[in-house]
Amino acid sequence: MILYILCFTLFLVGVYGLLTKRDLIKLILSLAIMGYAVNLFLVLFGYRSGAAYPIVTEGAAPGPMVDPLPQALVLTSIVIELGTTALLVALAIRLVEKYKTFDIHKIRRLFG
């Protein structure tokens, strides 16, 4: 249970960055931290103590294995995160080009 709480703390560190930081890059990094925490939480949830990785070896008797389902879901989630990070970087580049600043408070002020 303490592992789950630590993992949730990591998620909350990401939320903290999202709430208090004003730099565009810091916001992207906060989202990345939240992504790590969620992925790790799902995989923690599927761990079975003393079990092997979910790959059958030839000839060996199949022992207990960890849950392959969360691993499969997280595998797709990591790659999607990569795509969305690239999208966020592209958006940030456009914003910086237009407003010449990384500070989101200044960007917001420009709209009045």
């Binding site: 030839e58 595998l75 790659v79 795509g83 690239a86 970087v89 580049i93």
Partner: protein
């Protein structure tokens, strides 16, 4: 090719020239053995994208533009997504359900086994690799193209 104006130093270029094929080979290995060992289409695709990225960083933009056919890369990227869908429809035609494994399991622990899983792994690997490289290409083009191209 060894134009000192673009890219990094000669040492980096030489090392890149030797290692880039090994990296691509490793990516292909991961993709093809995705159903037997850890790896698969996602990991192998990212490795292939990183190999092209290595060339882009070491040799600069103009060389990479001549070396790779970017239009062709965009085409096969879109084509692999379409082929994935096509495999699903082939599953309806031959197996009754969308994305059925119509080839059957085959003999386990060999390279040509597991039905359509290796085929889909290859499609995903091509898709992910080309997608990510094109993203980096566009981002790099934007930064260097700030004042005058290249």
């Amino acid at each position: 090719m060894n134009d000192p104006k673009h890219g990094m130093t000669l040492i980096v270029k030489t090392v890149t020239r030797i290692t880039v094929w090994l990296i691509i080979l490793y990516g292909i290995y991961l993709i093809l053995h995705g159903h037997l060992t850890p790896g698969g289409g996602f990991g192998g695709g990212v490795i292939i994208a990183l190999a092209f990225l290595n060339v882009l960083l070491a040799y600069g933009r103009s060389f990479t533009k001549n070396w790779l056919n970017l239009k062709f890369m965009e085409d096969i990227e879109a084509a692999s997504a379409t082929l994935f869908l096509f495999m699903g429809i082939l599953g309806i035609a031959l197996g009754g359900r969308f994305l059925t494994n119509f080839l059957g399991p085959g003999k386990p622990f060999t390279l040509f086994s597991a039905g359509h899983i290796p085929i889909l792994n290859i499609l995903i690997g091509v898709k992910v690799g080309m997608c990510l490289f094109l993203v980096v290409w566009v981002l790099a083009a934007l930064r260097t193209g700030e004042g005058g191209e290249e």
